[in-house]
Amino acid sequence: MPETIEIQLKKGVLGLCVLALLARADSYAYEIASRLSDAIDMGEGTIYPLMRRMQTDGLVETYLVESSSGPSRKYYRLSQAGRDALAAQSAEWTHFTRAVDAIVANDSPVAPAPGEAA
């Protein structure tokens, strides 16, 4: 199945994307979901199980904001553990994508074998 790798990739980075969005500004689920569904084409409904899980793991915290129209809105913000997780995961991501890019790109310089004169 050709799309399998894409699904696995999205599955892996979804949490990282949410952490990164929240690092820029506190946000609410609808906003996060629509940003992510535009950007990486995921089902909007999956944001809620994910947010619950991140809350269980202590990566995000919620607070309510009174709204002028309708009921108050639940906002998410990063906890300290969330910030740490973001730093660790984005470093891992950068390292990983660089390594893959270097292999995929044909014009990448091939490291000379040890002992060989460059």
Binding site: I7, K10, K11, L14, G15, Y28, A29, Y30, A33, S34, S37, D41, M42, G43, E44, G45, T46, Y48, P49, L50, R52, R53, T56, G70, P71, R73, K74
Partner: protein
Amino acid sequence: MTRAEFLSRLKKGLVGLPLSTASDIVNDYETHFTDGAAAGRTEAEVAAALGDPDRLARELRAEAGAQRWHQEKNPSAAAGAVFAVLGLGAIDILILLPILMGVIGTLFGFAIAVIALFVSGGAIMVAGPFADLPGGAFAAILAGLGLMAGAASAGALLAIVTIWLVNGIVWFARLHYRLLKPALEPQSTQVVGDPA
């Protein structure tokens, strides 16, 4: 699918969760519909983008089961977590099921054996001195105590293995249900059946 239809299917799928958790979840999705309407989308569009409510309910139940298991390590929480995970019905979990059943059956058998050993140790300790066993009354009491101590330590070991097993199952399930495949392609199934 309309908003009311989506929410009623979601609610149906969440039966069995604590009421406060379930209503919290339903609130989340209600707000999602309200926000979607404010952004100018129809109920059918929002429902299609959200994905299958039955599947979402299964994932949310599995997550709630896992959460409870992390908070309280007791047999009922363990059973809840395992059943919620099985409820996901992911193919590879179903394939694992026979193996899992074997492992759980074995653990259960060991648990019964440990209890039996403990009880018989107690019986030997109490009744031994009067049963005229070889070695005398004192040896019988010691043997009974020894059996009971052995059973207790085997029981503790068994508990550790069981906790480890349930943790493993929960971990395995979490790998799978985050973003299961159909949730990625919400339009393909939802829009077809929509009369509008």
